[in-house]
């Protein structure tokens, strides 16, 4: 192995010990309940606002297109997966179900796009909550 190769590998960021702390648990839960919230409590303001804006915008556009918010169900596999995706939106999902937002049936193309937007907003929110968790445990800057 050449010296250059050794130097390069030494320069790679090393993941520190992933310690599960109160902050890491809080970042995960708050990040799920409030899109971008996990970043806000760690003072990552710009990232938090961008994540919040993206997730909320996708959820809102989905609703504007009369997208459907899935309910807990044990029926069709796609309906179950749809619920899991929607549930990832955390507080937005709870709010949407409580206030009965969204369409009841997917009867035209835009409603189908909207339903996908809402599912993906939930999945993106899970990604953002996990990212907040990684920052809290020191795995990411």
């Amino acid at each position: 192995m050449t010296k250059t190769e050794t130097d390069t590998s030494a320069a790679q960021p090393v993941a520190t010990g992933a310690a599960f702390t109160k902050m890491s648990a809080l970042a995960l839960v708050v990040g799920w309940l409030i899109p971008g919230g996990g970043h806000f409590i760690q003072k990552k303001w710009i990232r938090g606002f961008l994540l919040m804006g993206s997730v909320v915008a996708m959820f809102a556009i989905g609703l504007a297109m009369q997208g459907k918010i899935y309910q807990p169900n044990a029926g069709d596999l796609l309906d179950i997966l749809g619920f899991i995706g929607d549930f990832g939106a955390g507080g937005l999902y709870i709010l949407g179900r409580t206030l009965e937002w969204g369409g009841t049936s997917i009867s035209f193309a835009a409603a189908d796009y909207g339903t996908k937007y809402i599912v993906v907003a939930g999945l993106l929110n899970i990604m953002s909550a996990v990212d907040a968790y990684h920052i809290a445990i020191g795995k990411k800057q």
Partner: protein, 63 residues
């Protein structure tokens, strides 16, 4: 009567690509510079590029 927002498939895909690229960029990289670069690559290269490519493939299959 409930009025639903009506947008074309292309517009829906472009808006989708924009927001998903932002989240991918932020969550997949460490530094702000890398985040912007990753988000831009996802938006232009993967999502929009993939959409145009898929569109042309479908056009060729149809003709």
């Amino acid at each position: 009567m409930i009025l639903a927002m009506q947008i074309s498939h292309f517009t829906a895909a472009a808006i989708f690509a924009f927001f998903v690229s932002i989240v991918f960029g932020i969550t997949q990289r460490n530094t702000p510079r890398e985040m912007v670069r990753c988000g831009a690559i996802h938006f232009v290269g993967w999502f929009m590029g993939g959409m145009f490519l898929a569109g042309w493939v479908m056009w060729l299959l149809h003709h």
